[in-house]
Amino acid sequence: MLRRILLAMALAGIAGLGVFWWLTIPAVVAPASLAPHTPNLANGLVAFNAGGCASCHAVPNQPDRLKLGGGLAMPSPFGTFYAPNISPDPNDGIGRWTEAEFVTAVLKGTSPQGAHYFPSFPYASYQHATVADVRDLFAYLKTLAPVRGKARDHDVPFPFNIRRNVGVWKWLFVDGKPYAPDAARSASWNRGAYLVNGLGHCAECHSPRNFLGGIVAAQRLAGGPNPEGEGWVPNITQKGTLAGWSVKDIAYFLETGQTPEGDTAGGSMARVIRNTSQLSAEDLAGMAEYLKSLPPIEGPPRPKRAKSG
């Protein structure tokens, strides 16, 4: 009898492992699925700026945002991540990558070696980008100067360092769906929604996260504690500060970093503005139109600030 129970338990364990293994197989975009495509470098540049690639992948503490050697430290509750080199360097960057490997990395969060990337790389948002935009982005990145040197390894403790576990995270928080336009809205609104939720990955910082580090879907874009540590990230639905901003104010802010109060973007947003300021007036107007259309959503309660002095 005991032997049978043990056998059943062992079988259940093996089955469980099998399910885990199957569930966490890293998704890949097959090269054959990519139809012939003539890269549009100008659109690749737009994708680069909308995606804010330079915010994390540009070498920190130097002025050239096209020097994509990586190295920026991103602290999080799960450990510290270091942005990798995405310059076209053949050894340290993405110089030897195929187009399908790049599309897989950005849309599926899977490395050319077939491992899951950590979600600090915002593929949970990038997955909504079009394949064409990502292919153009790849072509654009290849035109930039190669930068030598690898960034240091992530400093992430057990159990979060087991990359296979990220497969479960993806199963929970990544739906793999491209952006679906809303026919009831204007083309400009749809463009804005696409940029905000896809390449722009605004929700990655402007949303609260649960204990697994997944975005709390019901409070998307409603702000929360800064995932990088200190302070609070503002609610950008119509419940927060943006309720008092016009569509023009939001677009102007994304272009210049100037708030209607005459203040300037603080914290990491200053880096974001360096990217959004490069976007066209139409794209910025679309993002502003979309953000202004968001329903007011109450974010998590902000803790009382420590008394000054």
Binding site: E230, G231, W232, S246, K248, D249, Y252, T256, G257, Q258, T259, P260, E261, G262, D263, T264, A265, G266, G267, A270, I273, R305, A306, S308, G309
Partner: protein
């Protein structure tokens, strides 16, 4: 008894100094807020086309910037180091750790104000030059201002 008085006096004095320094932080914050209003309530709305171009208002806003540029070099004495301001932001310790860098930012702001003032004559020149000043605000805030946690 005498000693107690001396100690009490010294304590009172230091408390007084502490309050005075906190007042100084508040005053400086008011200067920054007035500077922000000159940008956000006067210049930006004209650039955005929400208000008509008004030379007198522009001159006044630029005068505010000049005034701020003059005050900035003495606005952050050693005595206010580490004090937190009410609201969203405080001065970063970097102001005192990298005095040369901070002074260079102030000089750059003052230069931008002087240069743009000579250029702003109508809406088009305003549109071209307000971002120049705005960039000065951002780049200094990015390094020398921190979010209150």
């Amino acid at each position: 008894m005498k000693r107690i008085l001396v100690v009490a006096g010294a304590l009172l004095l230091s408390v007084g100094v502490g309050i005075a320094q906190q007042d100084k932080v508040k005053q400086d914050q008011d200067v920054m807020k007035a500077t922000g209003r000159a940008m956000g309530a006067v210049l930006s709305p004209m650039v955005k086309g929400e208000k008509p171009y008004d030379q007198a208002a522009v001159d006044q806003a630029l005068k505010q910037f000049e005034d701020t540029a003059k005050r900035l070099p003495t606005m952050f004495p050693e005595s206010t180091k580490g004090l937190k301001a009410e609201g969203d932001f405080s001065a970063s310790p970097k102001i005192w750790e990298d005095k040369a860098g901070f002074a260079a930012k102030i000089a750059s702001f003052a230069k931008a104000v002087t240069e743009t003032k000579a250029k702003i004559k109508d809406l088009d020149s305003l549109k071209a030059n307000v971002p120049v000043i705005g960039k000065e605000c951002s780049s200094c805030h990015e390094t020398y201002r921190v979010k209150n946690s």
